[in-house]
Protein backbone atom coordinates (compact mmCIF):
# COMPACT_ATOMS: atom_id res chain seq x y z
CA UNK A 1 0.00 0.00 0.00
CA UNK A 2 2.75 2.49 1.00
CA UNK A 3 4.68 1.57 -2.12
CA UNK A 4 1.69 2.19 -4.39
CA UNK A 5 1.07 5.56 -2.78
CA UNK A 6 4.74 6.50 -3.21
CA UNK A 7 4.48 5.61 -6.90
CA UNK A 8 1.41 7.85 -7.24
CA UNK A 9 3.23 10.77 -5.58
CA UNK A 10 6.39 10.46 -7.72
CA UNK A 11 4.21 10.10 -10.80
CA UNK A 12 2.12 13.26 -10.30
CA UNK A 13 4.95 15.40 -8.91
CA UNK A 14 7.65 14.64 -11.49
CA UNK A 15 6.65 12.40 -14.39
CA UNK A 16 3.14 13.75 -15.05
CA UNK A 17 3.64 17.18 -13.51
CA UNK A 18 0.30 18.98 -13.85
CA UNK A 19 1.76 22.23 -15.15
CA UNK A 20 4.67 21.05 -17.27
CA UNK A 21 3.33 17.82 -18.76
CA UNK A 22 -0.48 18.11 -18.55
CA UNK A 23 -0.93 21.86 -19.14
CA UNK A 24 -3.27 22.31 -16.17
CA UNK A 25 -3.30 25.43 -14.00
CA UNK A 26 -1.29 27.59 -16.39
CA UNK A 27 -3.18 30.83 -15.66
CA UNK A 28 -2.10 31.13 -12.01
CA UNK A 29 1.27 29.60 -12.93
CA UNK A 30 2.02 32.52 -15.25
CA UNK A 31 -0.01 35.12 -13.39
CA UNK A 32 1.37 34.72 -9.87
CA UNK A 33 4.99 33.70 -10.54
CA UNK A 34 6.60 37.14 -10.56
CA UNK A 35 7.68 36.97 -6.91
CA UNK A 36 8.76 33.95 -4.86
CA UNK A 37 6.71 34.92 -1.80
CA UNK A 38 3.41 35.05 -3.67
CA UNK A 39 4.32 31.87 -5.56
CA UNK A 40 4.66 30.00 -2.26
CA UNK A 41 1.28 31.36 -1.09
CA UNK A 42 -0.46 30.32 -4.29
CA UNK A 43 1.16 26.88 -4.18
CA UNK A 44 0.05 26.28 -0.59
CA UNK A 45 -3.52 27.43 -1.30
CA UNK A 46 -3.81 25.24 -4.38
CA UNK A 47 -2.41 22.18 -2.59
CA UNK A 48 -4.88 22.65 0.26
CA UNK A 49 -7.94 23.05 -1.98
CA UNK A 50 -6.84 20.23 -4.32
CA UNK A 51 -6.53 17.74 -1.45
CA UNK A 52 -9.96 18.65 -0.06
CA UNK A 53 -11.57 18.74 -3.52
CA UNK A 54 -10.19 15.27 -4.31
CA UNK A 55 -11.76 13.86 -1.16
CA UNK A 56 -15.18 15.46 -1.65
CA UNK A 57 -15.51 14.79 -5.38
CA UNK A 58 -14.50 11.17 -4.80
CA UNK A 59 -17.36 10.75 -2.31
CA UNK A 60 -19.75 12.55 -4.67
CA UNK A 61 -18.70 10.38 -7.60
CA UNK A 62 -18.96 7.04 -5.82
CA UNK A 63 -22.08 7.61 -3.74
CA UNK A 64 -24.23 9.96 -5.83
CA UNK A 65 -23.18 9.97 -9.49
CA UNK A 66 -22.21 6.36 -10.27
CA UNK A 67 -25.00 3.87 -10.98
CA UNK A 68 -25.21 0.82 -8.69
CA UNK A 69 -26.09 -0.27 -5.16
CA UNK A 70 -23.97 2.40 -3.46
CA UNK A 71 -25.95 5.24 -5.01
CA UNK A 72 -27.73 7.19 -2.25
CA UNK A 73 -30.20 8.87 -4.62
CA UNK A 74 -30.93 5.41 -6.04
CA UNK A 75 -32.30 4.27 -2.67
CA UNK A 76 -35.10 6.82 -2.98
CA UNK A 77 -35.57 6.79 -6.77
CA UNK A 78 -34.69 3.31 -8.10
CA UNK A 79 -34.56 4.47 -11.74
CA UNK A 80 -31.75 6.91 -10.91
CA UNK A 81 -29.84 4.09 -9.21
CA UNK A 82 -29.91 2.09 -12.44
CA UNK A 83 -28.79 4.78 -14.87
CA UNK A 84 -26.68 6.98 -12.59
CA UNK A 85 -26.27 10.72 -12.94
CA UNK A 86 -22.72 10.69 -14.22
CA UNK A 87 -23.38 11.72 -17.82
CA UNK A 88 -25.45 14.80 -17.19
CA UNK A 89 -24.44 16.09 -13.76
CA UNK A 90 -20.67 15.46 -13.69
CA UNK A 91 -19.42 18.87 -14.82
CA UNK A 92 -22.05 20.96 -13.04
CA UNK A 93 -21.79 19.16 -9.71
CA UNK A 94 -17.97 19.18 -9.67
CA UNK A 95 -17.66 22.89 -10.40
CA UNK A 96 -20.32 23.74 -7.81
CA UNK A 97 -18.57 21.59 -5.19
CA UNK A 98 -15.24 23.28 -5.90
CA UNK A 99 -16.73 26.79 -5.83
CA UNK A 100 -18.50 26.08 -2.53
CA UNK A 101 -15.39 24.49 -1.08
CA UNK A 102 -13.24 27.51 -1.92
CA UNK A 103 -15.79 29.81 -0.23
CA UNK A 104 -15.94 27.54 2.81
CA UNK A 105 -12.18 27.28 3.13
CA UNK A 106 -11.93 31.05 2.86
CA UNK A 107 -14.45 31.61 5.67
CA UNK A 108 -12.93 28.93 7.90
CA UNK A 109 -9.40 30.21 7.51
CA UNK A 110 -10.52 33.78 8.27
CA UNK A 111 -12.08 32.64 11.56
CA UNK A 112 -9.64 29.96 12.65
CA UNK A 113 -6.18 30.72 11.23
CA UNK A 114 -6.10 34.46 10.51
CA UNK A 115 -2.33 34.46 9.91
CA UNK A 116 -2.60 31.89 7.12
CA UNK A 117 -5.68 33.68 5.76
CA UNK A 118 -3.77 36.96 5.48
CA UNK A 119 -0.96 35.35 3.54
CA UNK A 120 -3.26 33.39 1.19
CA UNK A 121 -6.19 35.83 1.11
CA UNK A 122 -5.85 37.22 -2.39
CA UNK A 123 -5.25 33.86 -4.04
CA UNK A 124 -8.13 31.88 -2.58
CA UNK A 125 -10.98 33.18 -4.80
CA UNK A 126 -8.76 32.70 -7.87
CA UNK A 127 -8.62 28.96 -7.27
CA UNK A 128 -12.23 28.32 -8.35
CA UNK A 129 -11.30 28.97 -11.96
CA UNK A 130 -8.01 27.10 -11.71
CA UNK A 131 -8.38 24.24 -14.13
CA UNK A 132 -5.89 22.12 -12.17
CA UNK A 133 -8.43 21.66 -9.36
CA UNK A 134 -11.25 20.55 -11.65
CA UNK A 135 -8.65 18.57 -13.60
CA UNK A 136 -7.53 16.57 -10.58
CA UNK A 137 -11.15 15.87 -9.66
CA UNK A 138 -11.80 14.50 -13.15
CA UNK A 139 -8.56 12.51 -13.27
CA UNK A 140 -9.36 10.97 -9.89
CA UNK A 141 -12.81 9.80 -10.91
CA UNK A 142 -14.21 9.69 -14.44
CA UNK A 143 -10.98 9.94 -16.42
CA UNK A 144 -8.82 7.65 -14.30
CA UNK A 145 -7.56 4.50 -16.09
CA UNK A 146 -8.55 2.31 -13.14
CA UNK A 147 -10.93 2.87 -10.26
CA UNK A 148 -9.05 4.70 -7.50
CA UNK A 149 -9.67 4.16 -3.78
CA UNK A 150 -10.41 7.01 -1.37
CA UNK A 151 -6.86 7.22 0.03
CA UNK A 152 -5.30 6.99 -3.43
CA UNK A 153 -7.50 9.82 -4.71
CA UNK A 154 -6.52 12.07 -1.79
CA UNK A 155 -2.82 11.26 -2.23
CA UNK A 156 -3.04 12.01 -5.94
CA UNK A 157 -4.71 15.37 -5.20
CA UNK A 158 -2.07 16.25 -2.62
CA UNK A 159 0.78 15.18 -4.91
CA UNK A 160 -0.60 17.20 -7.79
CA UNK A 161 -0.67 20.25 -5.52
CA UNK A 162 2.96 19.64 -4.49
CA UNK A 163 3.93 19.30 -8.17
CA UNK A 164 2.20 22.62 -8.94
CA UNK A 165 4.02 24.28 -6.02
CA UNK A 166 7.42 23.01 -7.18
CA UNK A 167 6.81 24.22 -10.74
CA UNK A 168 5.58 27.68 -9.70
CA UNK A 169 8.50 28.05 -7.22
CA UNK A 170 11.10 27.21 -9.87
CA UNK A 171 9.38 29.57 -12.31
CA UNK A 172 9.31 32.46 -9.83
CA UNK A 173 13.05 31.98 -9.23
CA UNK A 174 13.71 32.15 -12.97
CA UNK A 175 11.45 35.18 -13.47
CA UNK A 176 13.10 37.13 -10.65
CA UNK A 177 16.39 36.73 -12.54
CA UNK A 178 14.78 37.46 -15.92
CA UNK A 179 13.57 40.84 -14.66
CA UNK A 180 17.21 41.99 -14.41
CA UNK A 181 18.34 40.76 -17.84
CA UNK A 182 18.43 42.52 -21.19
CA UNK A 183 15.73 40.75 -23.23
CA UNK A 184 14.56 41.79 -26.75
CA UNK A 185 11.61 44.15 -26.30
CA UNK A 186 8.84 42.08 -27.98
CA UNK A 187 9.75 39.05 -25.87
CA UNK A 188 9.71 40.81 -22.51
CA UNK A 189 7.22 39.62 -19.92
CA UNK A 190 4.99 36.69 -20.84
CA UNK A 191 6.59 35.45 -24.11
CA UNK A 192 9.96 34.84 -22.48
CA UNK A 193 8.17 33.22 -19.51
CA UNK A 194 6.51 30.82 -21.97
CA UNK A 195 9.83 29.94 -23.59
CA UNK A 196 11.44 29.35 -20.17
CA UNK A 197 8.52 27.09 -19.21
CA UNK A 198 9.16 25.17 -22.42
CA UNK A 199 12.79 24.65 -21.44
CA UNK A 200 11.71 23.59 -17.93
CA UNK A 201 9.27 21.09 -19.46
CA UNK A 202 12.17 19.79 -21.54
CA UNK A 203 14.18 19.25 -18.34
CA UNK A 204 11.24 17.47 -16.69
CA UNK A 205 11.19 15.13 -19.69
CA UNK A 206 14.19 13.48 -18.05
CA UNK A 207 11.77 11.92 -15.56
CA UNK A 208 9.57 10.29 -18.18
CA UNK A 209 9.61 6.51 -18.23
CA UNK A 210 10.48 6.40 -14.52
CA UNK A 211 6.95 5.31 -13.59
CA UNK A 212 4.88 3.13 -15.88
Amino acid sequence: MIKELAVIIVSVVFVNNFVLAKFLGLCPFLGVSQRTSSAVGMGAAVTFVMTLASAITWILYNYILLPGDMNIVGMVFPSVGESGLIEVLKTISYILVIATLVQLVEMMLRKMVPALYDSLGVFLPLITTNCAVLGVALLNTTDSPQHLGFIEAIVQGFGAGIGFTIAILLMSGIRERLALLNIPKPLQGLPIAFICTGLMALAFFGFSGMVK
Binding site: F23, L30, I92, I95, L134, P184, P186, G198
Partner: protein, 211 residues
Protein backbone atom coordinates in the same frame (compact mmCIF):
# COMPACT_ATOMS: atom_id res chain seq x y z
CA UNK B 1 -27.42 50.06 -33.80
CA UNK B 2 -25.76 50.61 -37.19
CA UNK B 3 -24.28 47.89 -39.35
CA UNK B 4 -20.77 49.21 -38.97
CA UNK B 5 -20.71 48.99 -35.18
CA UNK B 6 -22.14 45.46 -35.35
CA UNK B 7 -19.22 44.48 -37.56
CA UNK B 8 -16.89 46.16 -35.07
CA UNK B 9 -18.27 44.10 -32.15
CA UNK B 10 -17.59 40.97 -34.19
CA UNK B 11 -14.20 41.80 -35.63
CA UNK B 12 -12.56 43.12 -32.47
CA UNK B 13 -12.18 39.53 -31.26
CA UNK B 14 -10.08 38.52 -34.25
CA UNK B 15 -6.97 40.67 -33.69
CA UNK B 16 -7.39 43.58 -31.30
CA UNK B 17 -8.77 41.42 -28.46
CA UNK B 18 -7.34 38.11 -29.62
CA UNK B 19 -7.99 35.83 -26.66
CA UNK B 20 -4.78 33.81 -26.77
CA UNK B 21 -2.09 36.24 -27.91
CA UNK B 22 -3.35 39.59 -26.63
CA UNK B 23 -5.59 38.90 -23.63
CA UNK B 24 -3.58 35.74 -22.74
CA UNK B 25 -6.67 33.84 -21.57
CA UNK B 26 -7.55 30.19 -21.96
CA UNK B 27 -3.94 29.10 -22.18
CA UNK B 28 -4.35 25.60 -20.73
CA UNK B 29 -6.55 24.11 -23.49
CA UNK B 30 -4.73 26.15 -26.15
CA UNK B 31 -1.49 24.37 -25.32
CA UNK B 32 -2.83 20.96 -24.43
CA UNK B 33 -4.99 20.14 -27.45
CA UNK B 34 -2.96 21.77 -30.23
CA UNK B 35 -1.02 18.64 -31.13
CA UNK B 36 -2.77 18.45 -34.51
CA UNK B 37 -4.89 20.77 -36.62
CA UNK B 38 -7.93 18.49 -36.32
CA UNK B 39 -7.89 18.72 -32.51
CA UNK B 40 -7.39 22.48 -32.62
CA UNK B 41 -10.41 23.00 -34.87
CA UNK B 42 -12.67 20.71 -32.80
CA UNK B 43 -11.68 22.39 -29.54
CA UNK B 44 -12.15 25.85 -31.01
CA UNK B 45 -15.56 24.92 -32.36
CA UNK B 46 -16.72 23.48 -29.04
CA UNK B 47 -15.57 26.50 -27.05
CA UNK B 48 -17.07 28.94 -29.58
CA UNK B 49 -20.45 27.19 -29.31
CA UNK B 50 -20.35 27.43 -25.50
CA UNK B 51 -19.21 31.06 -25.66
CA UNK B 52 -21.97 32.16 -28.06
CA UNK B 53 -24.73 30.28 -26.20
CA UNK B 54 -23.66 31.38 -22.73
CA UNK B 55 -23.31 35.01 -23.89
CA UNK B 56 -26.84 34.81 -25.33
CA UNK B 57 -28.41 33.29 -22.20
CA UNK B 58 -26.52 35.57 -19.80
CA UNK B 59 -27.64 38.68 -21.67
CA UNK B 60 -31.26 37.43 -21.59
CA UNK B 61 -31.34 36.62 -17.87
CA UNK B 62 -29.34 39.75 -17.00
CA UNK B 63 -32.30 41.75 -15.52
CA UNK B 64 -33.24 38.89 -13.18
CA UNK B 65 -29.80 38.06 -11.77
CA UNK B 66 -28.78 40.02 -8.65
CA UNK B 67 -25.23 41.35 -8.75
CA UNK B 68 -24.09 39.43 -5.67
CA UNK B 69 -24.72 35.94 -7.05
CA UNK B 70 -23.98 36.59 -10.72
CA UNK B 71 -20.77 34.51 -10.88
CA UNK B 72 -22.37 31.24 -9.62
CA UNK B 73 -25.27 31.83 -12.05
CA UNK B 74 -22.87 32.30 -14.98
CA UNK B 75 -20.99 29.15 -14.00
CA UNK B 76 -24.17 27.07 -13.92
CA UNK B 77 -25.20 28.39 -17.37
CA UNK B 78 -21.74 27.65 -18.78
CA UNK B 79 -21.58 24.20 -17.19
CA UNK B 80 -24.95 23.25 -18.73
CA UNK B 81 -23.75 24.15 -22.22
CA UNK B 82 -20.46 22.34 -21.66
CA UNK B 83 -22.41 19.20 -20.76
CA UNK B 84 -24.43 19.56 -23.98
CA UNK B 85 -21.26 19.94 -26.04
CA UNK B 86 -19.61 16.98 -24.32
CA UNK B 87 -22.51 14.65 -25.04
CA UNK B 88 -22.81 15.93 -28.65
CA UNK B 89 -19.11 15.42 -29.32
CA UNK B 90 -19.21 11.92 -27.86
CA UNK B 91 -22.08 11.12 -30.21
CA UNK B 92 -20.91 12.65 -33.49
CA UNK B 93 -17.10 13.03 -33.55
CA UNK B 94 -14.64 10.18 -34.24
CA UNK B 95 -13.34 8.44 -31.11
CA UNK B 96 -9.69 9.41 -31.63
CA UNK B 97 -10.56 13.12 -31.51
CA UNK B 98 -12.58 12.57 -28.32
CA UNK B 99 -9.73 10.59 -26.79
CA UNK B 100 -7.11 13.25 -27.49
CA UNK B 101 -9.29 16.12 -26.27
CA UNK B 102 -10.00 14.06 -23.15
CA UNK B 103 -10.61 16.02 -19.97
CA UNK B 104 -10.25 19.35 -21.77
CA UNK B 105 -13.87 19.24 -22.95
CA UNK B 106 -15.33 19.33 -19.41
CA UNK B 107 -12.57 21.81 -18.55
CA UNK B 108 -14.15 24.38 -20.91
CA UNK B 109 -16.18 25.30 -17.79
CA UNK B 110 -13.13 26.90 -16.21
CA UNK B 111 -11.89 28.46 -19.45
CA UNK B 112 -11.37 32.07 -18.38
CA UNK B 113 -12.41 33.49 -21.78
CA UNK B 114 -16.02 32.40 -21.38
CA UNK B 115 -16.50 33.73 -17.85
CA UNK B 116 -14.63 36.91 -18.82
CA UNK B 117 -16.95 37.64 -21.75
CA UNK B 118 -20.06 36.82 -19.69
CA UNK B 119 -18.95 39.14 -16.92
CA UNK B 120 -17.51 42.03 -18.91
CA UNK B 121 -19.73 42.02 -22.03
CA UNK B 122 -22.89 39.92 -21.95
CA UNK B 123 -23.90 41.11 -18.48
CA UNK B 124 -23.97 44.70 -19.78
CA UNK B 125 -25.24 44.34 -23.36
CA UNK B 126 -28.25 43.23 -25.47
CA UNK B 127 -28.60 39.61 -26.69
CA UNK B 128 -27.86 40.25 -30.39
CA UNK B 129 -24.62 42.17 -29.75
CA UNK B 130 -23.58 39.58 -27.18
CA UNK B 131 -23.92 36.81 -29.75
CA UNK B 132 -21.75 38.80 -32.18
CA UNK B 133 -19.17 39.41 -29.48
CA UNK B 134 -19.11 35.72 -28.52
CA UNK B 135 -18.78 34.64 -32.15
CA UNK B 136 -15.93 37.11 -32.76
CA UNK B 137 -13.91 36.21 -29.69
CA UNK B 138 -14.58 32.49 -30.27
CA UNK B 139 -13.51 32.70 -33.92
CA UNK B 140 -10.38 34.64 -32.96
CA UNK B 141 -9.49 31.98 -30.44
CA UNK B 142 -10.19 29.19 -32.93
CA UNK B 143 -7.95 30.88 -35.51
CA UNK B 144 -5.08 31.19 -33.05
CA UNK B 145 -5.56 27.53 -32.07
CA UNK B 146 -5.33 26.64 -35.77
CA UNK B 147 -2.15 28.69 -36.10
CA UNK B 148 -0.44 27.02 -33.12
CA UNK B 149 -1.64 23.53 -33.96
CA UNK B 150 -0.79 23.96 -37.65
CA UNK B 151 2.80 24.93 -36.84
CA UNK B 152 3.15 22.14 -34.29
CA UNK B 153 1.71 19.47 -36.58
CA UNK B 154 3.78 20.65 -39.55
CA UNK B 155 7.12 20.55 -37.72
CA UNK B 156 6.32 17.80 -35.26
CA UNK B 157 4.71 15.21 -37.53
CA UNK B 158 5.37 16.53 -41.03
CA UNK B 159 1.65 16.44 -41.80
CA UNK B 160 -1.24 18.91 -42.06
CA UNK B 161 -4.77 17.70 -41.29
CA UNK B 162 -3.30 14.20 -41.40
CA UNK B 163 -1.93 14.61 -44.96
CA UNK B 164 1.79 14.13 -45.51
CA UNK B 165 3.52 17.28 -46.76
CA UNK B 166 6.90 16.08 -47.97
CA UNK B 167 8.67 12.77 -48.26
CA UNK B 168 12.08 13.92 -47.06
CA UNK B 169 11.30 15.39 -43.67
CA UNK B 170 12.38 13.85 -40.39
CA UNK B 171 9.73 15.06 -37.89
CA UNK B 172 10.97 16.79 -34.73
CA UNK B 173 8.66 15.09 -32.27
CA UNK B 174 9.59 17.60 -29.55
CA UNK B 175 7.13 20.02 -31.20
CA UNK B 176 4.24 17.64 -30.61
CA UNK B 177 5.19 17.18 -26.97
CA UNK B 178 4.83 19.65 -24.08
CA UNK B 179 7.98 21.81 -24.55
CA UNK B 180 7.11 22.56 -28.19
CA UNK B 181 3.73 23.97 -27.18
CA UNK B 182 5.25 26.46 -24.76
CA UNK B 183 8.01 27.56 -27.13
CA UNK B 184 5.75 28.00 -30.19
CA UNK B 185 3.19 29.99 -28.17
CA UNK B 186 5.89 32.16 -26.60
CA UNK B 187 7.41 33.01 -29.98
CA UNK B 188 4.01 33.75 -31.57
CA UNK B 189 3.11 36.00 -28.64
CA UNK B 190 6.41 37.80 -29.18
CA UNK B 191 5.48 38.25 -32.85
CA UNK B 192 2.12 39.83 -31.89
CA UNK B 193 3.92 42.16 -29.44
CA UNK B 194 6.47 43.12 -32.10
CA UNK B 195 3.66 44.02 -34.53
CA UNK B 196 1.88 46.09 -31.89
CA UNK B 197 5.06 47.90 -30.87
CA UNK B 198 6.00 48.71 -34.46
CA UNK B 199 2.51 50.11 -35.06
CA UNK B 200 2.66 52.36 -32.01
CA UNK B 201 6.15 53.57 -32.98
CA UNK B 202 4.88 54.43 -36.46
CA UNK B 203 1.89 56.37 -35.16
CA UNK B 204 4.23 58.17 -32.77
CA UNK B 205 6.42 59.26 -35.71
CA UNK B 206 3.37 60.54 -37.67
CA UNK B 207 2.24 62.42 -34.60
CA UNK B 208 5.62 64.07 -34.19
CA UNK B 209 5.76 65.05 -37.88
CA UNK B 210 2.35 66.72 -37.65
CA UNK B 211 3.40 68.56 -34.59
Amino acid sequence: MSEQSNWKEFSKGLFKYNALFVLVLGICPSLAVTTSLKNGVSMGGAATFVLVSSNFIVSIIRPYVPREIRIPCFIVVIASFVTIVELMMKAYLPTEVNASLGIFIPLIVVNCIILYRAESFAYKNKPFVSILDGAGIGLGWTLSLCLVSGIREMFGAGTLFGLKLSGHYEPASIMIMAPGAFIVTGLLMGLFNWRKQRKSEKSMKVYMKND
